[in-house]
Subunit: 149 residues, 2 copies
Amino acid sequence: MNFEDVVQQPRFHSPTQKAMLNILYTYHWYVEHTKQVFHDFDLTMQQFNVLRILRGRHPEWVSMSAVKEVMLDKSPDLTRLCDRLQLRGYLERETNAANRRQVRARLTPAGLELLRQVGPKIGEAAKAWSHLSDEEALQLSHLLDKMRG
Amino acid sequence: MNFEDVVQQPRFHSPTQKAMLNILYTYHWYVEHTKQVFHDFDLTMQQFNVLRILRGRHPEWVSMSAVKEVMLDKSPDLTRLCDRLQLRGYLERETNAANRRQVRARLTPAGLELLRQVGPKIGEAAKAWSHLSDEEALQLSHLLDKMRG
DNA sequence: TTCAAACACTTGTTTAAACGAATAATGTAC
DNA sequence: GTACATTATTCGTTTAAACAAGTGTTTGAA
């Protein structure tokens, strides 16, 4: 079922409102299409997001606040999210000796390996539904940037 | 903090991947900006979505399965979501006499009034950050449609 | 130097989400 | 008309989100 059919209101207040609803719809559509991959690896999108952030800075230690700052979905419960990832051996943590308030994390080899496995699967799910040319994709990105101002 | 800064990886696998991440980012950004409005009315986005669906068909009765079909975020727990809305007097339910398996819902006057109050507030939050012309917004919508194929 | 304020997380508690199993009503094939 | 599958929703249980309050650490000012 496509976007136009789903959204009941045949007339939108404005093109912007229509675009925004379309973004929400597309988001949920993405979640629906990648759900299986995350489920197969027993990961939530948030957890995957945290692991990806850590990989971006590997092998540095990254403080919890630094992680939170760049999380898409800023979980107020990062502690327990990391607890779960640590229990499963994907990351390690330590208190920063230079500032003992800070807790820092970094990926373990197992965490890196996990990302190596998950990444391509997400990519596949993504490739299957991308019907945009490179130029169109870049323009889409540009319009989103502009929308947020 | 903008999208380019947040996403650590300076190079994307593909423009499509970049666009998709941008959509995820924009979604969370929208949630962040409308959170206060929903909170003020003590509604979740899902609850609001259900109320909006019912309004789209008001004053008809709409079955739970019909609601679920068009929900952006298909809650597996629509029953209890509606329980909460009914308790607060925003909708009423009945079993469909013609098919006694079906439970149907429709907005109460209080529910309609709530939407009359919430709608414009969301709109305001939306207007504040829309920097797109009508043509650009329509094109954005078009690209999203095309992306999903 | 000592005390308050700011910081960086963590923990407790309430609440809702997620998943699967269960219930009940209806259609269908024999 | 009886058994069986299908449909439509609900319930039970496990799990994680959300929010607020609390703990320990550092900074800065009197």
